[in-house]
Symmetry: C2
Subunit: 303 residues, 2 copies
């Protein structure tokens, strides 16, 4: 297995680069799935989140190549929440969905080793196919993840230009040499991107996060990392269009390609699903949201 | 409760700024505490880690003001590991030790909200007194943590200049205006530091991480943030001396003060404890390591 090859082959088959975020905001969980008070400390809450996440997975099978659970929404319920995350991720992998864990971990040495073991080691309770990483502490942050990416064919996505308004506070600051900080981060990754290049598609399992809300910056990042996968947040609920989301994509054998466009709230919590009174109504609302995003992105990549 | 006030009052009483890291490296756990294979996926491993961590807490009571568990060493065992962390942190707080969680979380919006709930909300399973945060995504990363710091008197430590060799990759890069990246991070925190200033001691619950391995940089950071607590890794096992560790400290009512000097491996895994064959021998070895570090730091702050 090689993450980038596997992902790109599946993406070409499926016809769009949509990545389904699994961000179970407690305040948005439809009445249909609610249990207890829905406070993060209520012992009934984890089961509600698990039921919603599993039902969501069923909607996604065959429709997307990859899901992206956000750890924080599970971690807010403590160890019981992390146990739910483990079961949801195992269920996704059983359903042959790739799992990209949005953990944004960033630490060093033996600590980074601990996080790498937690998520990239075969047989770990939290085993996933790919993970997001924060580069602030430097390149030694990446070492234990990069080792496992090479050994087990995992994927890595390093934060470069994130989609939030505050991303400019540090990432846009200009360096005395070499442009803005986010470009320096990208430039420092070229070697690792080469090492993790997939034999089948030429795409690298070393990716970066590049927000759809900053399409011009994404183009510049593409020039620096021509074969890195881009994980692209900011499409849909955060305001970026499908065309903006795929600005960093390049011509592939079956339309434009270059990574993943994530949608979380837009898929898991479409307006019509909030008041669904039956499982069928909820499924219909979620299916419609998935189909709409898939079509938009399929059009944007020229399928 | 106000974290900085509480910490500084306790530190003055105790006579040194030593913070005890709880980093239970599985490969270093003494035979006395081992169970099963000690692999992270072995179901017996979490109990071994818990036994060691609880025994360590008993050595620390009355000797240090604060402990710093590193989440990664627990998270590598999955949700079972996080459950151990929750129990260890609750035990620390019962023993009236302050708990500073080394989580280095850094995300935005509702995700950051999730992490803030997980650790800073009263009654959360993972409730702690303070937490470490990664600023790469920008100042909006800090908002939900800052709110809770103000509401519940929690402490925050933002990564500025970390102690690892790779910290220069990004943090030392010079910005076109305003010096290196780590100084820009520090400068952006002045307002929040003012807001979180403690009425009793004048110290702020907004702190930064400033590695003991870079004492000159720590001095410059002190100039930018005169009343921020500094969390100082790199003392002991990582090679910095006590004098280097307290370089950013300033005169206080009872010697130099200015934050916390962390030691993890040096206290939890002193050489003499590795081969301890009885609980008494292990306790003696750990006590000696704690006493040595306390004395060195007490001398360095002029007590």
């Amino acid at each position: 297995m090689h993450f980038a090859d596997d992902l790109m082959v599946r993406t070409r088959e499926i016809g769009h680069p949509l990545c389904a975020g699994i961000d179970p905001h407690l305040a948005r969980i439809p009445p249909l799935f609610q249990r207890g008070s829905m406070a993060p400390t209520d012992p009934a809450t984890p089961a509600a989140v698990e039921a919603l996440a599993l039902a969501f997975l069923d909607r996604l099978v065959g429709r997307v190549a990859v899901v992206k659970p956000q750890v924080a929404f599970f971690e807010q319920m403590g160890s019981a929440g992390l146990a739910v995350l483990e079961r949801v991720m195992a269920a996704a992998r059983e359903r042959e969905l790739l799992v990209l864990l949005d953990a944004k971990r960033g630490d060093i040495g033996s600590t980074a080793e601990g996080y790498a073991r937690a998520y990239l080691e075969p047989g770990a309770a939290g085993e996933v196919d790919a993970i997001t990483l924060n580069p602030y502490m430097g390149l030694d942050t990446l070492a234990p993840f990069a080792e496992r990416a090479a050994a087990y064919g995992r994927g890595l996505f390093v934060l470069a230009k994130t989609s939030n308004p505050g991303s400019g506070d540090l990432q846009d600051r200009l360096l005395e040499k070499a442009g803005p900080v986010y470009e320096a981060v990208a430039s420092s990754l070229t070697e690792l991107a080469d090492e993790l290049t997939g034999p089948a598609t030429g795409w690298s399992s070393l990716g970066i996060v590049a927000g759809a809300t900053y399409p011009e910056q994404a183009e510049r990042l593409r020039a620096l990392l021509p074969n890195a996968l881009f994980l692209i947040p900011g499409y849909g609920a955060q305001g970026a269009s499908a065309a903006e989301a795929v600005r960093s994509f390049v011509a592939g054998p079956r339309g434009l390609e270059g990574g993943l466009v994530n949608s979380s709230r837009g898929l898991l919590f479409p307006e019509a699903a909030a008041s669904a009174e039956s499982a069928g109504a909820w499924e219909g609302a979620v299916d419609a949201a998935i189909d709409r995003a898939s079509e938009e992105l399929g059009l944007a990549v020229g399928r």
